[in-house]
Symmetry: C2
Subunit: 452 residues, 2 copies
Amino acid sequence: MDYAAYFAANRESQLNELKEWVSIPSISAQSEHKQDVNRAAEWLAEALARAGLEHVAIHPTAGHPIVYADHLHAPGKPTVLVYGHYDVQPVDPLHLWQTPPFEPDIRDGKLYARGATDDKGQLFIHIKAIEAILRQEGALPVNIKVCIEGEEEISSANLYPFLQANKELLAADAVLISDTELLAPGQPAICTGLRGLCSMDIAVRTAKTDLHSGSYGGGVPNALHALVTLLDSLHEPDGRIAVAGFYEDVPELSAEMKAELAKKGVDEEGIRERLELDALFGEAGYTYAERVGARPTLEINGMYGGFQGEGTKTVIPCEAHAKITCRLVGRQNPQDILDKIERHLRLHTPPGAKVSLVQREKGNPFTIEPSVPVLQKAADAYEHVYGVRPVFTKDGGSIPIVEAFARELTAPVVLMGFGLPTENLHAPNEHFHLENFDKGLLTIVTFLRRLA
Amino acid sequence: MDYAAYFAANRESQLNELKEWVSIPSISAQSEHKQDVNRAAEWLAEALARAGLEHVAIHPTAGHPIVYADHLHAPGKPTVLVYGHYDVQPVDPLHLWQTPPFEPDIRDGKLYARGATDDKGQLFIHIKAIEAILRQEGALPVNIKVCIEGEEEISSANLYPFLQANKELLAADAVLISDTELLAPGQPAICTGLRGLCSMDIAVRTAKTDLHSGSYGGGVPNALHALVTLLDSLHEPDGRIAVAGFYEDVPELSAEMKAELAKKGVDEEGIRERLELDALFGEAGYTYAERVGARPTLEINGMYGGFQGEGTKTVIPCEAHAKITCRLVGRQNPQDILDKIERHLRLHTPPGAKVSLVQREKGNPFTIEPSVPVLQKAADAYEHVYGVRPVFTKDGGSIPIVEAFARELTAPVVLMGFGLPTENLHAPNEHFHLENFDKGLLTIVTFLRRLA
């Protein structure tokens, strides 16, 4: 049976398996889901064993476990390390989901569920491609190692030490990851750059207790005023980040790079309309594609303080909180950037306010040259299945461990995504176009066979 | 039996009654407490009847009910209208309460409970003073009307139309209110000025959904950034409010007024230490007493948006919310101020953000001359019980209906408070010093008898 016929025959049972997996709420950021994260790891380990992989092991860490498996029976052939993650993002605001995030639903050829595209659905392609080759041919054309973590959405804190401690176990000639996007329906893309990431929690404290704005209003600091002033000081009105030295290690965009980004043919007006925005907004002097693909950011991801209930409360809040993240590019170092932000916030703290900061995630930016041979083979595989040659893009997102894989294993990392930019990852109604699930299976089979 | 002996003999049973009342969570701002608010009104009506008042009636309104009662058997004597409120503020942050807000607890001579001082405890003084005179003398020295609302903490929206529609029912020679403060332990005060109040909800919307900061970060507006910019634009760094025309109807402080406020002898360093603040903060060019007593304010009371849970979420939030209130002085008009803020916010809205505003409360500032005879009689009563003559003060708080009573009934309003500035009203661990409950009973009995 050819592979297209094989996958068609097994489609329903494979999708039912995937639905089972995405129904497990493995939200790594929320401790109440600790058991669900473990369940998702166990489910994954069983699926890897069913696929025919060997040495399946769940490695406990200080956080969520890492699942390893391999199939090393192709002597003289290259070894491919498949990486992915079985953890998912939180789901709020829950009321905006059309169907519950952990009750997977297939509508209009799309699978709706948290994790459908990021990353369970995409990772599942690899498992089923490997299973298919083993069932069809009884052997794999290359050596395969699989290393799947449960902390990608919270910055892979425990994968990095695992990687350092297990360089031999994980040693490979290439790392294969599907956690990025096609450029558009029918147009594949290979990602040659990812932004780095760092994050910080900010807390502001003023008086020892909330105060009545009648008795004290006008005479005492307000924690929300102080937080608003601090946060507003982080950007210039033209969108530039106002933290001293923030852009120090950001290379100026070369004419070549600008041309490459322009080739993506981003439809700014289309994006604006689809998001129902009055206007796009970003750093002055750059196009949308440049801002998202090759420039760093500083975003406030959440904020709260004072009275948030119904009605009015005439209170002067004594505490206020915010969460920020930065996307990094070029030679920006996450620790250095967090230190610069910290310095900025301490300098700008208004009278009467005390600021406390917690530095959280730290991931370096990643970049690779399109001319690397394994990337060209990946491009051939895409072209074989999609009928068009993929473009080489820079992605605005971050997979903090990618740069670490490349550095520690001195192996090229192949980012072959099958998601779409419109699939609401990290937002309500996340989904995965099953057309790309189908084509993804064939693409990965083709890629692994051509690597041999 | 003299009154001191009478109140001593009845103290325990009266406090038990009061504890029963403050245990009812009559939070007017929260619709889930609608039934509790009704229960508090019913409890009050029964207490008024028990005290010997007549024509006790619970008047339904579009919101929470108004409780009326009277005792009009002193022909030729003045009529006093007692006003107060049986609703209370919300209780969050709940975790900062040492004992639950609706499980009243007496410690160190203080009653701890939401509403203990604002205003159930203070209002209860009037009920028990009237009851005492009726039981001791069989008649009242003046005519008494009682009008108690359940919406003071949400700006008396329904009391104002009730007042306009029932001017004859409520007609009086003086209005008596205990919802303000002594200057300090042992030093009574009569309030001759209250700040006005207005409030507004602000909502910012950007994209139609939350977005992933990897895919979109740098290229689209962030609702929290827009809100932070808007809110920060409302103040100058020196504490002045930056809204055009905000100070137009604020009279400059006269030398006389400054001297009167200075007489309060506010211990700025003591306040700073008690609140555990690094520094006090307020409008440049004014003392603490001037800022709180005679200058207008604009405070952010609450704010929320984006991810507020544990950990990190790399999201660009599409909505963000804030609640603000202003304290007004002089001839500032709440509607005019809200309109000016609205204009300011529309002018300062950053690109890509849509702002929606809901105007809420609107109460005028109030002022009265200390020389008014009924205020001098109130001063005599205080002096008789506390041994010192009260000072005449301006209070930074707002009782929006006070100005309306004075205007609609053309009657002087006597603000005789028995609370203390340290009693955490509107904050966790609200309490009431029972020493002032005891002295308050005697002061009100003395005042009513001297009015005759």
